[in-house]
Symmetry: C2
Subunit: 207 residues, 2 copies
DNA sequence: AAGTAATTTAATAGTGCTATTAATTTAGTA
DNA sequence: TACTAAATTAATAGCACTATTAAATTACTT
């Protein structure tokens, strides 16, 4: 609490709430618990954020934006050849997930709880990937024409890419328990899968 | 309710509860809501299942067993060559998921809520896949030795397989909203990804 | 048809949660 | 130092939920 008091209460509440929402989801987290964890009065949570719903949305939107902005930022890769660019995208996407391992589950659950949020999200999402998508697709078609890559849809490629990357973090709690892994082994697996996903995808794309 | 009354109340409660737990998770589902949906008194839910926790566990264990028994039953495939066997496993696994599309999210959430359940699960799981794993691994090593498949771990192959299959159903609610898909398009995508996952994996395994 | 067990309901105790209000404390300013 | 705004707390209204109990109803058996 001393540590927390050095920061502003508002931020402390935000951070604690973020952790609790990520770990236990919206329904299983109460403002009472958040306050207890922070070490402040429960009314204070409502003083700053008015409602639990609102507190959640502040966190959700912020995390969500951060996540998608970074995860699908292809950067300045114009000088790279297609497979290297793809490798970069896979690895960057993987690393973002690695820094936000619980976020996918939160997103999945929140969108199940409030389906209309998906539509809001859709509009926000449209801009970012459409540009990347168009450009990547042209390059992919060219690679295919020139026989350097087998015939494949970009959409399918992206679904596979995201699937491979995201699943590891979704299933990590299960994997580490079932296989009785310690921290070192966990880190090793993550590092290993990062490379494996790249290899798996690139090998699959060979003509 | 008339329809429900023809069955036993107990089963009606079980089925309704199953749907609600699958759709909204444990915390966001109440025995009051279940009873309202079934059309019976709320106390009846507790009469048959004593506690909400217990009701959930009954459903969870039943679903879980059913799921894993089927999903990793390689059947009598001894006469098939490795890639055909693999194809069969991918497709069977996919089909089980297709019939239980919401189950993965339920499992992920439940295991986050009660981490010790993973350990219980681990012991139950051990038997089923270990046999399959050993056998498959031998065959895979043989294929690699004989140059028909590139060098790859069975564990990595299985993680990729499960990732590709499961993710589609986890993300389906998002995909269909973002891409504005109707029922027909949804079915098409599922059918398409079923084949695509097989192709993606098999192409990747080429030496 | 009477008696017994199983099923179902009504009522409610007890708990924890969200949100609000008014009072109190703290910090900042003139 | 006195005044004002911001931050924090205490108290509580009001609600929904879980679980239990006792009463009522239905089904079953002899």
């Amino acid at each position: 609490m001393d540590i927390k008091n050095e920061l502003s209460m508002e931020k402390a509440i935000l951070e604690t709430a973020e952790n609790m929402f990520l770990n236990k989801g919206f329904a299983a987290t109460s403002t009472t618990q958040i306050a207890k964890e922070v070490g402040c009065n429960q009314a204070l949570v409502h003083y700053y954020f008015r409602t639990k719903e609102n507190l959640f949305n502040v966190i959700f939107e912020q995390k969500f934006k951060l996540f998608f902005q970074n995860a699908f930022d292809a950067g300045n890769l114009d000088n790279l050849k297609f497979t290297d660019k793809l490798k970069y995208i896979i690895e960057t996407h993987f690393d973002i997930l690695s820094n936000n391992p619980r976020l996918p589950v939160l997103i999945i659950n929140e969108l199940a709880r409030q389906p209309h949020q998906i539509e809001i999200l859709r509009d926000k999402l449209r801009m970012i990937p459409e540009l990347l998508f168009k450009k990547l697709n042209e390059e992919l078609r060219l690679e295919i024409e020139q026989g350097r890559i087998r015939d494949v849809n970009l959409m399918d490629l992206l679904i596979s890419l995201i699937s491979l990357n995201v699943s590891l973090f979704i299933f990590m709690p299960i994997i580490e328990t079932v296989l009785l892994m310690d921290e070192t082994q966990k880190e090793f697996l993550i590092k290993h899968r990062r490379a494996e996903n790249v290899e798996f995808i690139l090998k699959s794309l060979r003509p």
